[in-house]
């Protein structure tokens, strides 16, 4: 007696086995690597897009900061904070300020310029310059000295930080003194002394 699997069944088994081999081969050699490659490509692109999105967000934030800071920069520049400290011009401005305040006279001294430390890093190519300023003022009223001190920061380019303001009465208010004042003669009833610091963010190699 012979054992029969059956021709049809044998053909079917062989056919199915061939199909399995073909499909398996396609899975292993074609579809698997292709899918893997596509997945890697996709993952790489996703990373790249995420990085680009972050960069765009950062650039947007930088641009907003720049736009905001530039407005302030222009105000600071217009204020002369970035200009060199021109002493002659500054002296003329002090004279004009004293006249405007009603003072009879002034004596000013620009001390040697110093380079100051800043809390953080200084901007590239610039340094914080400070010139100590001492001014003696003579006038009829203590208010004239105070008006001068009040207008000092606006009068000079850059920033002026007041360190000390002293007002002394020189003369007692007598009828003779008042008469002289009424005749238009300069009478110095008070003497003021102002000590200040004049700041500017000057170029590295500038005054």
């Amino acid at each position: 007696m012979t054992l029969q699997i059956g021709t049809g069944r044998t053909i079917l088994i062989v056919l199915l086995a061939l199909i399995v081999v073909a499909l398996g081969g396609a899975r292993l050699l074609l579809f698997g690597p292709a899918t893997e490659s596509l997945a890697q490509q996709r993952a790489g692109l996703e990373r790249s897009v995420a990085t680009l999105r972050r960069d765009v967000d950062r650039a947007d934030a930088t641009l907003v900061t720049l736009q905001r800071d530039w407005v302030r920069y222009e105000a600071v520049a217009a204020d002369g904070f970035l200009d060199r400290q021109e002493r002659l011009e500054a002296g003329a401005r002090l004279d004009a300020l004293a006249r405007a305040a009603g003072l009879n006279g002034l004596l000013y001294t620009f001390r040697p310029q110093q380079t100051m430390e800043t809390d953080g890093a200084a901007p590239a190519g610039r340094r914080l310059a400070m010139t100590p300023l001492e001014i003696d003022l003579f006038g009829p009223l203590d208010g004239t000295v105070l008006a001068f001190a009040d207008g000092l920061d606006a009068a000079l380019p850059g920033r002026v930080v007041l360190r000390e303001v002293t007002v002394d009465r020189l003369l007692p208010v007598t009828p003779a003194a008042l008469e002289a004042l009424a005749q238009g003669q300069p009478v110095d009833f008070v003497r003021g002394r102002v000590r200040a610091e004049w700041y500017a963010l000057v170029p590295e190699d500038g005054r």
Binding site: M1, L3, Q4, I5, G6, T7, R9, L12, I13, L16, V20, L23, G24, A26, R27, F31, G32, A34, T35, A39, Q41, R42, L45, V49, L52, D55, V56, A59, T62, L63, T65, L66, D69, R72, Y73, V76, T118, D119, G120, A121, A122, P123, A124, L128, D142, L146, A149, D150, D153, R159, V160, V161, L162, E164, V165, T166, V167, R169, E197, L201
Partner: protein, 521 residues
């Protein structure tokens, strides 16, 4: 469920004197098992339509025993059953068991143990089937399938108003090997007999007597299985009506006799057999085992037996079946996997295309933004540093206005300041690891000249009043009197005189000094 759970095969009824090949359409061929030529002819029939063949044995050497099997758990059932069959039929090569519907037996569930001798006829038939390059779908016994057929027939007859209502039904017909009787009890096979044909089948009177005798013998066997004469028995006869009537008249224990022709049987069993070829009138000797085979075709055999010569073939078939199933599953699995991969590739390609568009758009936007940033003449970091320094310097800037104005308010019109000093202290430097402390407030020093006030007590009170006003105006600052108009402070020396003693000639110094400084913490 015909054709779904069934084999869907052709059926070869193996009788002692004839082999009958049939399918759902009826008998295809018959052959004499003793003739090699007839077997070869049958083989040609089989080869014409290759496919599995169910062998339905209508032979003599069949063994049946009704035995109760103890009720055991599901896991032990097969083992217990195999042991009980082996004990009941130790010398029989092919064995099987069929559970019966009767559950009244207290000793256990009744089973019909079935045995079969693997004789030469069976081996020759199997060899013929194999030589025709067909497979044996299974081996079953015609009486077992006949019992099932009788149940269908009883249902059909009941529909015609001729119910077989008794518990016992007897089928009697002329088969190739002799007179086949199949007795059922409640639809289960109770008894079957194949007896030699009577010598005088043409004489209906004598035939009826012979058949009645055979029926009587069968009934006498049934007594052991609980049959009582009061129950009676319904008989289905394949033969003429007249023979049925004669048989009914002779059998006092018979409840009813239904005589059917082959065509009647086929009609009632709703077989697809070509009825025109079947005789309409009943006649003794009409072969209906082919119709039983046609009925069994397409149905799952009630009991499939496994002769040793087929066992290996079945094993091979089972292995190849599993292999086919595994291969089919692998094909389906791989096809599904490849489809999913293909779909994934499609999704990935789609995503990649969308991502490339996004990448280009973001790249373009980034270039535009960077161009805008580059258009500024200063880098953002430098600009920020520059502004930070400007802010730092601006934070140092203090105007004396508010303090001096407050001072003027506190002095009033009567009291004149001799000297006013406004000093901005240096901002402390930062300690290591700590932020730099804020700029302290300016320190104001005021010297008052009260020479014009004659009354020293009034002058002292005036200075104290000024200090009190200053404290109100500078609530967050310390206001202290550094010097009074007279040396009244605990740390000073006060020189006085009275009576005739004149105080040392020293002009009274009517000057006071006040200091407004940082609030003491």
């Amino acid at each position: 469920m015909r054709g779904l759970l069934g084999t869907g095969n052709r059926v070869l009824v193996v009788g002692e004197d004839a082999l009958t090949l049939c399918d759902a359409d009826g008998v295809l061929a018959t052959a004499d098992p003793g003739s090699d030529a007839a077997l070869a002819g049958l083989g040609q029939h089989l080869r014409r339509h290759r496919g599995p063949v169910l062998l339905l044995l209508d032979t003599l050497d069949q063994f049946y025993r009704r035995e109760p099997v103890a009720r055991v758990g599901l896991l032990d059932r097969a083992k217990v059953l195999a042991r009980r069959i082996a004990q009941a039929m130790p010398d029989v090569e092919v064995r099987g068991a069929l559970p019966l519907t009767d559950t009244d037996d207290p000793a256990g569930r009744p089973h019909l143990f079935v045995g079969l001798a693997e004789d030469d006829l069976l081996r020759r038939v199997i060899a013929t089937v194999h030589e025709a390059r067909c497979t044996v779908a299974g081996v079953s016994l015609l009486p077992l399938e006949g019992a099932g057929m009788l149940r269908d027939l009883a249902r059909s007859l009941a529909g015609e108003g001729r119910p077989l209502e008794g518990r016992w039904t007897l089928y009697i017909a002329r088969h190739a090997g002799g007179i086949r009787q199949i007795v059922t009890r409640d639809g289960d096979l109770a008894l079957t007999r194949l007896t030699p044909p009577p010598p005088s089948e043409e004489d209906e009177e004598r035939l009826a007597a012979e058949l009645a005798q055979e029926v009587q013998s069968s009934i006498s066997y049934l007594g052991r299985q609980g049959y009582t004469p009061a129950e009676g028995i319904d008989i289905v006869l394949i033969g003429p009506e007249s023979l049925g009537e004669a048989l009914g008249a002779r059998g006092p224990l018979v409840r009813s006799v239904v005589a059917l022709s082959a065509r009647d049987l086929a009609e009632r069993l709703k077989l697809r057999a070509d009825l025109r070829r079947l005789p309409a009138a009943g006649a003794w000797g009409q072969r209906v085992e082919g119709l039983i085979g046609a009925w069994a075709q397409g149905r799952r055999p009630r009991l499939a037996l496994m002769p040793p010569i087929l066992r290996r073939q079945y094993q091979v078939k089972r292995v190849t079946g599993w292999a086919l199933a595994v291969l089919l599953l692998a094909v389906v699995g791989l096809a599904v996997d490849l489809t999913l991969l293909r779909h994934q590739q499609y999704l990935d390609r789609d995503s990649i295309a969308a991502l490339r568009v996004q990448q280009a758009a973001y790249g373009e936007t980034l270039t535009i933004r960077r161009d805008h940033i580059a258009a500024y003449p200063m880098a953002v970091e430098d600009l920020a540093a520059l502004l930070r320094v400007a802010d730092e310097v601006a934070a140092r800037r203090r105007l004396p206005d508010p303090d001096l104005a407050a001072l003027a308010t506190a002095l009033g019109e009567q009291i004149r300041a001799d000297r006013v000093t406004w000093i901005l202290p240096e901002r402390p430097t930062a300690r290591r690891g700590q932020p730099r402390p804020p700029q302290p407030p300016p320190v104001l020093t005021v010297r008052l000249d009260l020479t014009m006030v004659e009354d020293i007590g009034l002058a002292v009170r005036a200075v104290e009043a000024v200090a009190a006003r200053l404290r109100v105006l500078f609530p967050d600052r310390s206001v202290e009197i550094l010097q009074q108009v007279a040396s009244l402070l605990p740390g000073q020396s006060l020189v006085g005189a009275g009576g005739t003693v004149v105080a040392p000639s020293r002009a009274p110094d009517r000057r006071a000094e006040l200091r407004i400084g940082e609030s003491p913490r």
